[in-house]
């Protein structure tokens, strides 16, 4: 049976120096900023607020709403972060939303500060060689690690399946793999996700 190595990703925030104070400059920045900046504003928010029902799903959407663009805010908030397999796809989707809008683009807004995630993957020192060990590790690891295996590493590999699903499939647990791969982290907390995964592994 192949071994599953549990990893985690930690990050901190770095200001890019890029600031937008109109919808037009915001749209330009979305096209120009690096992937780690897109990652910060979409996925770090998903991680940071995973446990509570916020009005919008990311800081782009909050800024748009606050500056009088409620339709755009809803559309940005609804970008399906679990469906997209690549940061570039998400960027394209956001650019498309902005291109389709008929909103006034040169109205002066409160500035939006673009921030980049400075990311580091670490080995958390846990390995699983069978389902029992896998279950025990899922129970113990921090939520950064869960987030890494369910969301982040998938984006790095531009793959539609998350790490847990890929390993479970490799070890012949296709049904469990499918169930875990269909978890929607946009509507549940990482604590809930952990509980559901443990239930699936138990079943």
């Amino acid at each position: 049976m192949s071994e599953f190595v549990f990893k985690s990703e930690l990050w901190t925030a770095q200001y890019t120096g890029i600031k937008a104070n109109t919808l037009a400059s915001f749209a330009r920045a979305i096209e120009e900023v690096d992937d780690d900046t897109i990652y910060y504003h979409l996925y770090r928010n998903l991680f940071e607020y995973h446990f509570m029902p916020t009005e919008y799903g990311n800081s782009f959407a909050y800024w748009l709403a606050e500056n009088g663009y409620p339709v755009l805010a809803e559309k940005f908030s609804s970008v399906d972060l679990m469906e997209c397999v690549c940061l570039d796809d998400i960027r394209k989707e956001m650019v498309q939303i902005l291109r389709e809008t008929a909103e006034v683009s040169d109205k002066l807004c409160k500035p939006f500060h673009f921030i980049r995630a400075v990311r580091k993957t670490i080995d958390v020192g846990l390995k699983a060689r069978n389902i029992q060990e896998f279950k025990e590790a899922v129970q113990t690891v921090g939520i950064h690690s869960l987030f890494y295996h369910l969301v982040t590493s998938r984006l790095v590999r531009c793959h539609s399946s998350n790490d847990f699903a890929i390993w479970l499939e490799e070890v012949g647990e296709e049904r469990k793999a499918k169930q875990i791969n269909s978890l929607d982290l946009m509507v549940m907390s990482l604590h809930e996700a952990r509980r559901i995964i443990l239930d699936i592994l138990e079943s």
């Binding site: 985690s8 930690l10 990050w11 901190t12 925030a13 770095q14 200001y15 120096g17 940071e48 607020y49 446990f51 509570m52 029902p53 916020t54 009005e55 500035p111 500060h113 921030i115 400075v118 580091k120 670490i122 080995d123 958390v124 020192g125 113990t140 690891v141 921090g142 939520i143 950064h144 690690s145």
Partner: protein
């Protein structure tokens, strides 16, 4: 020591911190600031330095020396950066700053360290000691986005010598800063007297001591007596609420003996409160951590109706105690409160009164928001997250 935090953040998070720290084995870190006691910076370092050592990062803490004249100049610099008004800095004051900087250059040995954190503007000039291969970081705890120009020009030559800066929020970064700017908010320590769990009888004792009725709703604002904290707006909001709902208002804060403006504001607040027995204005000694903790725990609703704030960490302190906080829609307060989820952001006296009434009337809503508030702090504003961020900055500067 780090193990004590497991019950707040979980075993997995501690293991992640340890794994990150292992990658920095052998790195020597120095923190330098201007005081060992008093103020938010010293409070954080007091706990953060031992935690970094406990994680295996050899970390020291030094404070700069200076006489009253030097610290008057640095206080003026602080004010000119944060809230520019009145005269700029004089040539004589610049000379005083440089003279003491050179004295501290020979007094503080920074050579043995790989990474040096310099906190705030007081020790900023020590950068002239930087050796090749070292990484120096300016940890700026104040808003320098709109400083007095001449003062900033003087400090900028030092700032640009650093390898990186760290600011609480991006809005606090001065436009045109040439060094990489990390964004790291401050944090609270759940084990500090300000935040640790308290027995009910202690909380009741504190309320009794100040003549506050524990069985009637309490609206609380903890803040020094300063116009920027808008104590007068808080009293006005309370009076609107009081027309309809029974409640008490507690304004707890302090002013230093060398702060004539604080004393003046305190007197005006007392005068504004008049003979309302349900307004309690408490001028407490600065180390009244347990009393403030007890007041926050007994509050029904907590306010932080500031007009301007550094970061306003007192918001997180109340949120950690499961309280919904109604805060001014500004700076660091906006970063802590999620409007409608962990509390409310407000822009006016009337808006404040409206939200107080909503929260006083809805126990379910208060509990829901209070639970969200505590989780928000657990996720983003505890000291363990702060340590992780510092380790990440060190890693990115040394290893990337």
């Amino acid at each position: 020591m780090i193990e004590e935090y497991e019950r707040y953040v979980g075993r997995g998070t501690l293991e992640e911190l340890k794994a990150l720290a292992r990658q920095l084995k052998g790195v020597k870190v120095l923190h330098v600031n201007s005081t060992k006691k008093g103020g938010g910076v010293a409070e954080i370092l007091y706990r953060l330095v031992p935690l970094m050592n406990d994680l295996g990062i050899d970390t020291s803490w030094e404070i700069i020396k200076g006489d009253q004249e030097f610290f008057s100049v640095t206080k003026k610099i602080h004010n000119l950066l944060h809230l520019p008004s009145g005269d700029g800095i004089s040539q004589k004051e610049l000379l005083t700053y440089m003279k003491h900087t050179y004295e501290n250059v020979s007094y503080i040995d920074t050579d043995p360290y790989d990474v040096v954190f310099i906190h705030d503007p007081q020790p900023l000039g020590l950068i002239i000691k930087k050796k090749n291969g070292q990484r120096w970081i300016w940890r700026c705890h104040i808003d320098v986005s709109t400083p007095e120009e001449e003062t900033w020009k003087f400090l900028e030559m030092f700032v640009n010598g650093y390898d990186a800066g760290i600011f609480h929020i991006p809005e606090f970064v001065r436009e045109g800063v040439k060094i990489p700017s990390f964004i790291i908010p401050p944090s609270i320590d759940p084990l500090h007297d300000k935040n640790r769990e308290l027995e009910d009888h202690f909380i009741f004792g504190v309320l009794e001591k100040f003549g506050i009725d524990p069985y009637r709703p309490i609206i609380l604002q903890v803040a020094r007596f300063d116009r920027l904290k808008d104590p007068f707006g808080v009293i006005s909001a309370y009076r609107i609420v009081k027309r309809r709902l029974d409640c008490q208002l507690v304004l707890a804060g302090s002013y230093a003996s060398d702060d004539p403006e604080g004393e003046e504001v305190y007197r005006e607040v007392v005068e504004t409160a008049g003979d309302d027995d349900d307004i309690h204005i408490l001028n407490l000694p600065p180390d009244s951590h347990l009393e403030i903790n007890a007041l926050q725990r007994s509050a029904t609703v907590v306010l932080q109706k500031s007009i301007r704030e550094g970061f306003g960490l007192v918001v997180s302190e109340a949120m950690w105690k499961g309280k919904p906080v109604i805060g001014g829609n500004i700076g660091g307060i906006r970063r802590q409160i999620i409007n409608g989820v962990t509390g409310y952001l407000v822009n006016s006296v009337e808006g404040t009164a409206f939200r107080i009434k909503q929260l006083l009337s809805g126990e379910k809503e208060r509990s829901r928001m209070g639970r969200n508030a505590r989780e928000r702090v657990r996720q983003s504003f505890l000291i363990t997250r702060h340590v992780k961020d510092y380790l990440m900055v060190i890693y990115s500067l040394l290893k990337s």
